[in-house]
Amino acid sequence: MDENKFLALFQDTLQRETPLNMDDILASLEEWDSLAAMASIALAEREFSKRLKLKELKQQKTVRDVYELFRA
């Protein structure tokens, strides 16, 4: 999956109106909460067949980190 498709999916997962950038800091996003993290685990499962724990996901700093983690 390319970066643009990921950004669109991740934005939808967070239910955020403003588009995301790869370098956005997760902690600075108002929508980055425990619900969004849970939804992101499900996204990783569905779109990347990637099994993640919430703890692993929450250690990520930027949107790019999440993308890399999903693809790893």
Binding site: T13, Q15, E31, S34, L35, A36, A37, M38, A39, I41, A42, E45, R46, R51, K53, L54, K55
Partner: protein, 383 residues
């Protein structure tokens, strides 16, 4: 290992009752700083929307009693033919006696009927089915009435924005009986008590008992506010949502795969994966990880009625599958998981059973409120 196969048992009927009073997320905007957009976002992400809450004085036992009355009357069952009544709940009427005993009397079942409670939550329906099926398969009973219901709204701090919007109240009844049809059913159950603090009511029983004096009681009622500003009270439900989510994702899909294997079936053989409706993300993620397409794992019952704990599996059957199970046969995989932590799942066939759909609770005339009951006891003891 709690892995069982039964061949002389069937489910003959399922019925569910919910309170008629509905609360919508938009009625509680105080939980979202008055912002409707924030509330809508929660609906979009986890599917929380509407739920039914029992009015004051109505308990899980009342909802289950009505579900049982609807079913026994609808099926024309002779009440004397019921050999055992199992009430599965975490919100019984009293610390003692068992609520099942009171329901035996209220339902007019025979004095020769065994009646007992089981303290189980979200895995409670599949747990109860396993128990009931064991009783029938062994020949100990011919007919078992399984009542699974919850009025968790009674044990939740009303200001807790994490838990309040999540849980709804519901009572269900299921009739399990001896069968010669030869449809086997498979069960697997498991427990991890090391995580028991992930979902707990810390105070009020023997470990942290209700004290004798109001002064000491005050500490148990005190609100403790966590780092996110969420208030908790020891006499009410505490939930570590992230721990529960991680547990579910790491244990349940593997457990489902193991059950399918022992049943000699694959996801293709199952018409519906009826998962406990914890929330939309958990249902879709568990289904994906277990290899089931989304359309086989419906979750709309959650958005319509909330997380119904142990009652959520029979509620899905009544809400979404009633017509199908009344008129034909369905191969189902039922899976419940949560408080304990416990998990229990079953592969079984429902073949032209009696199913009521979801019905609203009708409060009987003269039904007592807590005030009436308090006055009753004050008078009775001072005589």
């Amino acid at each position: 290992m709690a892995s069982s196969c039964f061949s002389k048992v069937k489910i003959a009927g399922i019925s569910a009752v919910v309170p008629s009073s509905e609360i919508r997320l938009e009625d509680e905007l105080e939980f979202f700083g008055g912002d409707i957009k924030k509330a809508n976002r929660v609906t979009q992400i986890v599917g929380i929307n509407k739920r039914r809450i029992a009015e004051r004085g109505v308990t899980a036992a009342d909802l289950c009693q009505q579900a049982a009355e609807n079913m026994l009357f609808g099926m024309g069952i002779d009440k004397a033919s019921i050999d055992a009544l199992i009430f599965v709940s975490q919100t019984p009427d009293y610390k003692l006696p068992a609520t099942a005993c009171i329901l035996q009397h209220k339902l007019g079942l025979s004095n020769a009927c065994a009646a007992f409670d089981v303290n189980q939550g979200c895995a409670g329906y599949t747990y109860g089915l396993w128990l009931a099926a064991s009783l029938v398969e062994s020949g100990a009973c011919k007919r078992v009435l399984l009542l699974v219901g919850e009025s968790l709204s009674r044990v939740i701090d009303r200001d807790n924005r994490i838990i309040v919007p999540l849980f709804g109240d519901c009572g269900t009844a299921t009739l399990i009986e001896k069968s010669d049809a030869g449809h086997p059913s498979w069960f697997e159950l498991g427990t991890d008590g090391s995580e028991h603090e992930a979902l707990i009511v810390p105070a009020g029983q023997s470990r942290l008992p209700l004290p004798d004096s109001p002064e000491e009681y005050a500490a148990l009622c005190e609100r403790i506010v966590d780092g996110n500003g969420t208030p908790w009270r020891l006499i009410r439900t505490y939930m570590d949502g992230e721990a529960v989510f991680d547990f579910t994702m790491s244990v349940v899909p593997k457990h489902i795969a193991a059950l399918l294997e022992s049943a000699g079936k694959s996801a293709d053989d199952i018409d519906y994966l009826v998962l406990h409706k914890a929330n939309k993300q958990i249902v879709t993620a568990v289904a994906a990880r277990a290899g089931f397409p989304e359309e086989k794992a419906p979750y709309s019952t959650f958005s319509e009625f909330g997380n119904l704990a142990g009652a959520s599996i029979p509620a899905v059957i009544c809400h979404l599958l009633a017509e199908k199970v009344c008129n034909g046969e369905l191969n189902l995989l039922l899976s419940g998981y949560g408080v304990g932590l416990s998990w229990a799942s079953a592969v079984l066939k429902l073949d032209r059973i009696w199913c009521s759909g979801m019905r609203d609770y009708v409060r009987p005339e003269g039904h007592q409120n807590p005030d009436d009951i308090l006055a009753y006891w004050q008078e009775k003891l001072s005589e």
